[in-house]
């Protein structure tokens, strides 16, 4: 190794100064400091503006925990969880239909996604709530029937509207996850004698979850806020209840702040759950110690 152009180990050729032992100086990030200072000033100004503005903070504090608001946020969370459950079940079924080799199932699945993604959610909610105008009586003829006005309560209408709409979006998220799993996994599952559906359940879907969960978490957070649209059909979720209060006492901003606080709190509590789920479904692929 001592040909021309190679120096002996530990010795430097002339012209190169010895750097060993010199400390590395810390770099000063002037840009970061400047940005931080500007943001602190802006925040301080905002806080001051809100503090001096026409907001009765004692009213906010009072209404934060009144029973109507608490039952409202409970209804919000309940509806979000149930509608999301409906959406996920529908989404899985529709995604599997879409990926099947049956042209009828494929068309039905595509038509469903087209219909429910193509119309505004608020329109769908209003349709479900007012469906009694079209079908005064619903049920299975001869077995069980009931008056649509009685069946389609705000709760049922909201659950149907939000769930069916969510299913259309979730089906695409699940489909993306299924497609992302290597074709060799299907082969290996079939080779040990699994049917298509069995392979999907045991082998493909668990691996698809890794891809599905982040966007699904997004959808769930979206759903918590979308429930507020159900206020137009009298579902007593938190925004609806907040509105009812400010119609009476005119404390509009105060009650909107109360509702906003609860939405933020619920979303903040749910975010860590997503991380736990993601960790569970990334087993086998997570880097050790990560």
């Amino acid at each position: 190794m001592s040909g021309p152009g190679h120096s002996e180990p530990g010795r430097l050729e002339p012209g190169f100064s010895d750097l060993a032992g010199l400390p590395v100086a810390r770099r000063l990030h002037w840009g970061r400091w400047l940005a931080a200072v500007l943001i602190v000033i802006a925040l301080a100004y905002l806080v001051r503006a809100f503090a001096k503005g026409q907001i009765a903070w004692d009213v906010v504090a009072h209404f934060l925990t009144v029973p109507v608001i608490l039952s409202g946020i409970w209804n919000t969370v309940l509806m979000a969880v149930l509608a999301m459950a409906v959406g996920i079940v529908l989404g899985i079924v529709v995604a599997i239909m879409r990926l099947s080799s049956n042209p009828v199932l494929i068309s039905v699945a595509a038509g469903y996604a087209w219909l429910f993604r193509g119309t505004p959610l608020i329109l769908q909610l209003l349709l479900w709530f007012n469906i009694a105008l079209v079908f005064p009586v619903m049920g299975i003829p001869g077995i069980w029937t009931g008056k649509a006005v009685v069946i389609m309560t705000p709760f049922v209408s909201a659950l149907l509207g939000l769930g069916l709409n969510q299913g259309a979006y979730t089906s695409e998220v699940i489909r993306a996850g299924i497609i992302s799993v290597d074709a060799g996994q299907h082969d290996a599952a079939r080779a040990i004698g699994m049917s298509r559906l069995h392979a999907l359940r045991r082998i493909v879907l668990p691996q698809a979850m890794k891809v599905v969960l982040p966007p699904l978490g997004n959808e769930f957070i979206g759903m918590i806020k979308m429930t507020s649209l159900a206020s137009v059909i009298q579902y007593p979720e938190v925004l609806h209840n907040a509105e009812n209060i400010y119609y009476a006492n005119s404390r509009v901003i105060e009650l909107l702040i109360v509702a906003g606080f609860w939405y933020l709190l619920v979303v903040s509590i749910l975010t860590p759950f997503q991380m736990l789920l993601e960790r569970h479904f990334s087993r086998g692929t997570a880097r050790p110690g990560a």
């Binding site: 290996a188 080779a191 479904f281």
Partner: protein
């Protein structure tokens, strides 16, 4: 005369306009090792996948241990079998893939146990004991709890072999089992396969390892353009090929 384990007659398969198999006929006798060699695109992998019904054949017929695969004769017509019946037929064959295809969300042991417990509905305790014995046999008893991502390529392929064996197949199919491995890991996989051949397992092996074919195979089949060009004992096909195309291929591979 004994009945062949695999009887392939006049099998053709096209993918779009590509003729992957063009009238292939061959027999694999019980306990025999048949090595399929040939350039990529010659149809050897497709033939293997057709035997396992991962691809359906366009025409011709394949019998496995006397049972017609994929179709059943009723009256004067052939009817395609249901997916469930095809899955049941697949239980008779074990398949090892070029890229291992272990289930990444399961440990080595869980990979092996999955088929017998989930598909064959055998009792978990018995299957686990058998799976541990299989891991021992492929030299990986200490890796039972490891995920595939924590294993080397050679170790993954050995787990994949154990996974296929756990189904107690009559026939083992190997699709280029060492092609995705680093050179220093090829030996350990071939050693496991050699051991398996010695136990009398019937094997069809698509391979580029001519040394393995020479030592272990009873029959070597050279394929080109979806047809069998030459088949026979290794000392004939590999050492003294009759066909010009076989000679050309061997000279390229051995160079």
């Amino acid at each position: 005369m004994t009945r062949p384990m695999v009887a392939i007659r006049n099998v053709a398969k096209t993918f779009g306009t590509f003729q992957a198999l063009d009238g292939v006929s061959m027999d694999v006798m019980p306990g025999e090792v048949t090595c399929l060699i040939g350039a990529s695109g010659s149809g050897k992998t497709t033939l293997l996948r057709c035997v396992n019904q991962l691809n359906t054949i366009d025409s011709g017929a394949i019998w496995l241990d006397g049972e017609l695969l994929g179709k059943a004769k009723r009256g004067d017509r052939l009817h395609r079998l249901t997916e469930r019946a095809v899955s049941r037929q697949r239980l008779a064959t074990g398949m090892v893939f070029q890229r291992f295809n272990l289930f990444p969300h399961m440990t080595a042991l869980q990979n092996i146990v999955e088929g017998p417990v989930q598909v064959q509905r055998r009792p978990g305790r018995e299957v686990r004991a058998e799976a541990m014995a299989l891991l021992e046999r492929v030299g990986l008893a200490d890796k039972a709890g490891n995920y595939p991502s924590e294993l080397s390529g050679g170790q993954q392929q050995r787990v994949a072999i154990a996974r296929a064996l756990a189904m107690r197949p009559k026939l083992m199919l190997f699709d280029e089992p060492t092609s995705a491995l680093d050179p220093e890991l090829v030996g350990e996989v071939l050693a496991v396969m050699r051991g398996l051949a010695e136990t009398g397992m019937t094997m069809m092996v698509v391979t580029h390892e001519l040394g393995f074919a020479r030592e272990v195979a009873d029959t070597v089949v050279y394929m080109d353009a979806g047809r069998i060009v030459e088949a026979g004992a290794p000392r004939e096909v590999l050492a003294a090929p009759k066909e010009e195309r076989t000679r050309t291929f061997l000279s390229k591979v051995l160079k």
